[in-house]
Amino acid sequence: MKNQEKESPLGLDVGTSRICLARRGDGPTEYETQLNAFVSVPKSPITERVLGKEKIPHTVRDSDILVHGNEAGSFAGMLGIETRRTMTRGMLNPEEPDSVAVLKDMIQAATRRYGEQSERRVCFTVPAAPLGANDRLTYHEATVKQILTESGFHATPVNEGLAAVYAELEASNYSGIGISCGAGLCNVCLAYLAVPIVSFSVPQAGDYIDSSAAAVTGERANRVRILKEESFHFNGFFSDQLHQALGVYHDSMIESLVESMALALSGAGKAVRSNRPVPIVLTGGSVMPAGFRDRFENILRRRAFPLPVSEVLLAPDPLHSAAKGALAAALTGS
């Protein structure tokens, strides 16, 4: 690793379903992604040895071993159990006693190679407060910041919707609406010339789709997620109930997102009134089904929207946009 590379700032997307680290290497930006989930397996010397030998990230506890990251999904499939989540709805999962410990291990595993440089700058994503709710983000933000600070970084939060703007709206001088539809939340940020003007989140996102579709079909949410990622797309005809349910709940998510945007942006009154049409960019794992952009635009154009919209763009690499934007924030922060 070259010195310059060692010193360059990092972008970290701490998402409900994935943790993604972005850094600038010699060529294009590089990304390392881990599933932000874990499973608990009974502790045994053999299991511990196999996990160590295979370099599978894990945490050993008194009576069990917590396997986290990408392998957690495979273990969950093998054992027929649901993965556990360190985060829910964009923040630390209050119902998961091991959330902080596992998240710490995961973040440290992702950043260990880069943390030896004292005070290296890292920007990490944080969600915006849900529309109409009080600020419940302080604990989550402070916890992630502490984990990174303890690892030797100079850590700064960046709003996830703003990260989408930084990542994808360079062509409009960082003006427009960035939307990051992840697993836990849809984060929205209206920015003008890189300055955030309105930010908020909407709790209907990927997990909402999975759990709702699972509830009406009797499938496990994890299996619904896998099927969704493998085969769901808009504008097709599906004869099976699961795909129909996925279509219904995707529509419901988009409707709710557009409704909230209309509400939040008109609620902001004169501050966001402009004759200049703004672009909207869609990022995040939940915008990946084929046809999502068109469906979103369709629903958006059907209702009176308080801002003129020039175009609806789909990020070229939606899964990495938040990390890319966090990296841009780290590279340009003081």
Partner: protein, 353 residues
């Protein structure tokens, strides 16, 4: 932060440098509170200034906003199917021949005020106009007993257009509109080309204009089938609404095509005459002076005049007059003034990404 800060930011070509500048400029210590300052900026409409930035603003969304909004509100996407889109003005676009091309990145433009004015290059990112093309195919007679041949020819044209990413849209003789390249991407339809709107001079219209091709041949009589004209009208209406394109920026390939090699206009001559602007809800844009002549210093020859015929002569005559007056105003001979315009155009052309 104000318009000046935006200006300065736009001088920075590197996106990270630009973002760094904008974030610094937005700090509370540098003026009013960022959110308020930015909100204040939102009501500003970006206008070109006499002394513009060196490397400029993505003005992608900075077109005439109110007009754009007013028109965009009237036409909307109603339905997207597996292989089609339907718009509220009745336009149906078939999408089964769609392909991917390069994204439209910000493209360079020059303020249109001639050699006297600002030579600083700006950047824009949204489509500024429409170029109409004839596919110049050799069409079978448009008759009921030729259906299978007509359909086969249509498929051949579409396959060719798709393989070359040649246009954004093709309208076949039955009036079916096909999307070939998405509007957010570049289609290779215009080659070396020049046009100017009320604010900017554009070179390389592949990047800045949308290409709409009619499956026909220049000189065909009638030039378009009634179905083509009807669909063309709906398509133009939708694109104009979506991108706030003025009527005067909907022109034919022959009006914009240039040959850098010999410095003359009319390298391509499709629809040099006979394009039914009126049937598409547009004024007779043949009467417009070609920007290539009076803003980019190109010339023309007899061959072109022959192929263009009388429709474009009015525009050419107008352009000659404008060039003549401007040369007198700057105290230069016409040939020297033309040379200065060419130099300006070449700078613009060289700055293409």
């Amino acid at each position: 932060m104000n318009r000046i800060a935006e200006w300065r930011a736009c001088r920075l070509g590197d996106p990270i440098e630009r973002l760094r500048y904008l974030r610094r400029a937005a700090r509370p210590s540098s003026g009013p509170k960022p959110a308020l300052a930015a909100a204040g900026c939102l009501v500003l409409v970006l206008l070109p200034r006499p002394q513009g930035p060196r490397v400029p603003p993505p003005i992608s969304t900075a077109r005439t906003g109110s007009a754009r909004l007013a028109e965009a509100g009237r036409i909307w996407l109603v339905e997207t199917g597996e292989d089609h889109e339907i718009y509220s003005n009745g336009l149906r676009i078939e999408t089964q021949w769609r392909t991917q091309s390069s994204s439209r990145t910000p493209f360079p433009v020059l303020p249109r005020d001639g050699a006297r004015g600002d030579s600083k290059i700006w950047h824009a990112a949204t489509p500024a106009g429409i170029v109409f093309h004839a596919t110049e195919s050799d069409p079978a007679p448009f008759a009921e007993d030729r259906n299978s041949m007509l359909l086969r020819q249509s498929e051949g044209t579409l396959a060719y257009a798709r393989s070359r990413r040649a246009y954004h849209f093709v309208i076949d003789r039955f009036g079916r509109a096909f999307r070939i390249v998405p509007e957010s991407q570049i289609a290779f339809h215009a080659g070396e080309s020049v046009w100017a709107d009320s604010r900017f001079l554009f070179a390389d219209l592949n990047a800045s204009f949308l290409g709409v091709a009619f499956d026909t041949r220049t000189g065909a009589e009638p030039p378009l089938t009634p179905a083509q004209a009807s669909t063309g009208r709906a398509l133009v209406e939708m694109l104009r609404a979506r991108y706030a394109i003025p009527r005067s920026d909907c022109v034919t390939h022959a009006q914009v095509s240039v040959n850098r090699g010999n410095g003359e206009i009319g390298w391509h001559t499709d629809f040099a005459s006979g394009f039914p602007f009126e049937e598409l809800g547009l004024p007779d844009n043949y009467a417009l002076p070609p920007a290539s002549l009076y803003l980019a210093g190109f010339d023309y020859d007899r061959r072109f005049l022959r192929s263009a015929g009388s429709p474009m002569l009015r525009g050419i005559d107008l352009a000659e007059g404008m060039l003549h007056r401007e040369a007198i105003a700057v105290n230069l001979s016409e040939s020297r003034y033309r040379g200065k315009l060419r130099e300006r155009y070449q700078n613009l052309s060289r700055s293409r990404p």
